[in-house]
């Protein structure tokens, strides 16, 4: 641990705490807490979405994957980006037009049944927990490496910080932490990419030529097939990546922080540009790390390749850049977990407590208190789970979260907005089939059972062959919704007319 790292690290912590202090003063209503009062501007929300999305897994994970596996590492980047077209074309505007705080609120425009809200809250909480454990375990490992402190202290530092942001500053603080972090992250990416290009004499051809000879893979480094050798497994993962984003609770929640569909749209556009540029730059980071850090050094620091980006910063920019990138990585993790806590808390406090237990009759003060307790509960639960999950493979937790989001949340969102016959039974079966098929298939997959000791949780032959089951569970989610609908007599075509008109025009009744 060196002084520069500590100073920059503290600077980031202080900066985010100042943001939280000012945000806390403006957080008075439940609306402020969950959605920053719906007052973020489109571009601000766009940068915050990018901040939410560009997790440590993207920043450190993809740079590492490209450094170690060349083209195959790039697959993630493509899927994560194109996912925004699904969001923009099919989800963002109707969601903003129909909803208030959560996915369950949006479904409420069409269905009154408590079980619909309950199912939506269940899938939200499951996704948030998996995603959060992944982020916290990754954070623990990273901070342990960067600052040379024990894992449990690292997890506690991150856990306490995120709890402070959410508890006191709510969505306003979380959004601003995300915006600041996204800007710092992009700045870091641009600086490293520039230095990498400088070292390659700004000659892309030379860069491609060079990386071909520096890794142990030789010319295969530039070809697909190093990491993803199994066709169906690759396609299944690509399905989860492209469809999962549109069902991730913390991304969905961001669409409620803007005032109308038009701002929701402009936030997706900003997010798409920022995220797109980011992923193009991951290529320079990956190639740079392969060329200037070297495969052996990357693997020696962390077998998952997670240290490729910080090591590259050190190799081409010295201690100061290393310290800066490490601090940015830390801020990245903080911002993402804070966003996750908030979406988990909203499912607990707003959907389960406010709407199901209190049947919508809780006062704003009670709701606000419930939201804060829920944030605390979600944080503590996630910290405890992360402390026990130190040796879990986090990559599989992230892809599982994407898979559940794609299988349980996306079908119900699309059916609610676009299918006239869709009904309560369909909504519940769709969410439950998607959720449980994803969970069950993963628990039978090579991610959990492997004949090689240490490669997965248990030693044994996997019953289901795909590590990511999206290829099967996403169609099952859609099928569940279809069958549930046609086997139940309920119709709500008058209600659907209203949903359709509102979703497509942005018409809102005045608050009565």
């Amino acid at each position: 641990m060196n002084t520069t790292v500590v100073v920059l690290f503290l600077a980031i912590v202080i900066l985010t705490l100042i943001i939280t202090y000012f945000a806390a003063k403006h957080t008075q209503t439940t609306g402020d807490f969950y959605t920053a009062g719906g007052e973020l501007k489109g571009w601000q929300n766009g940068i915050a979405i990018a901040g939410d999305y560009l997790s440590a897994a993207s920043f450190l994970g993809i740079a590492g994957a490209i450094a170690l596996y060349g083209f195959d590492g790039f697959f993630y980047s493509i899927g994560f980006l194109i996912a925004y077209l699904v969001v923009l074309f099919l989800v963002a505007e109707p969601l903003r037009n129909l909803g208030k705080y959560t996915l369950a609120d949006m479904l409420k425009a069409r269905f009154d049944a408590t079980k619909v809200r309950g199912a939506a809250a269940l899938s939200t909480i499951t996704i948030v927990l998996f995603y959060m454990i992944a982020q916290l375990v990754g954070a623990g490992a990273l901070i342990q490496l960067l600052f040379d402190i024990p894992y449990w202290i690292a997890v506690l530092i991150v856990g306490v910080m995120m709890t402070v942001y959410v508890l006191f500053g709510g969505m306003i603080a979380t959004s601003w932490v995300q915006i600041v972090k996204a800007i710092l992250l992009m700045a870091g990416m641009v600086i490293i990419s520039f230095l990498v290009l400088l070292n390659f004499n700004f000659d892309i051809m030379y860069m491609f030529n060079e990386v071909k000879s520096v890794t142990s893979h030789g010319a295969d480094y530039l070809k697909p097939g190093l990491k993803y050798t199994e066709p169906l497994g690759t396609i299944s993962l690509m399905i989860a990546l492209v469809l999962g984003t549109a069902g991730l609770p913390h991304i969905l929640m961001r669409f409620f922080t803007v005032k109308d569909a038009k701002s929701a749209r402009s936030s997706v556009i900003t997010a798409t540009w920022v995220i797109g540029i980011f992923y193009v730059l991951t290529l320079f980071l990956g190639f740079g790390a392969a060329a200037f850090v070297g495969e052996a050094n990357i693997l020696a620091a962390n077998p998952g390749g997670n240290m490729a980006a910080p090591l590259l910063a050190k190799a081409i920019g010295g201690e100061i850049l290393f310290a800066f990138i490490s601090a940015v990585a830390f801020a990245t993790i903080l911002a993402v977990v804070a966003g996750l806590v908030l979406s988990g808390a909203s499912a607990f406090a707003h959907d389960l407590y406010g709407q199901i237990i209190k049947k919508g009759k809780a006062t704003d003060k009670q709701q606000m208190l419930a939201a804060r307790y829920a944030s605390l509960a979600v944080s503590i639960l996630a910290i405890l789970l992360a402390l026990f999950a130190q040796y879990l493979n986090v990559a599989f937790l992230v892809s599982l979260a994407f898979c559940i989001a794609a299988s349980a949340n996306l079908p119900v969102i699309l059916y609610t907005v676009y299918w006239k016959k869709f009904n309560t039974a369909g909504a519940v079966t769709s969410m439950l089939t998607g959720l449980f098929s994803a969970l069950i298939l993963v628990s039978l997959s090579p991610s959990v059972f492997s004949p090689v000791e240490g490669a997965a949780l248990f030693v044994g032959e996997p019953i289901f062959p795909l590590a990511n089951p999206a290829l099967v569970s996403v169609p099952l989610g859609f099928l569940g919704g279809y069958l549930g609908t046609i086997f139940s007599k309920e119709t709500n075509s008058r209600r659907y007319a209203k949903v359709k008109v509102k979703a497509n025009t942005g018409y809102r009744e005045k608050e009565s």
Partner: protein, 117 residues
């Protein structure tokens, strides 16, 4: 805002606004037709284009043919996905302005300024 108090079971029949009538109106039908005509083909296009990449890399090897120096088709294909995303986003924003205009007309003419209150 359509919060909890706004819609209860079957209370839509009590609405002053007949949403079924709005839904059936020629203007709304035209908006839906225009939206569909834009969104459906482009969504199919980008999904096909996206899945073509893993399908081609998994089942064929011809994308490995070099084009310029060491850069092969697979890299160009991957970058074209980025370009496609940005182009489709821009196209959508342009198109959405005309959808917004149609929607505003429908709101002004058929929905009035706030239904329930």
């Amino acid at each position: 805002m359509n919060n909890t108090s706004a819609n209860k079971v079957d209370h839509d029949t009590n609405d002053q606004i007949d949403f079924v009538k709005v839904e059936q109106s020629p203007k709304f039908k035209k908006l839906m037709r225009d939206r569909k005509r834009f969104i459906v083909p482009l969504t199919i296009f980008f999904l096909v284009f996206y899945f073509l990449l893993p399908i081609l890399t998994s089942y064929t090897t011809f994308l490995n043919t070099p084009v310029i120096g060491d850069i092969s088709w697979v890299w160009l294909f991957a970058f074209s996905q980025f370009v496609m995303t940005w182009v489709l986003c821009t196209l959508y924003v342009r198109k959405a302005t005309s959808f917004d205009k149609q929607a505003d007309e429908i709101i002004d003419e058929q929905l009035g300024k706030g239904g329930k209150s």
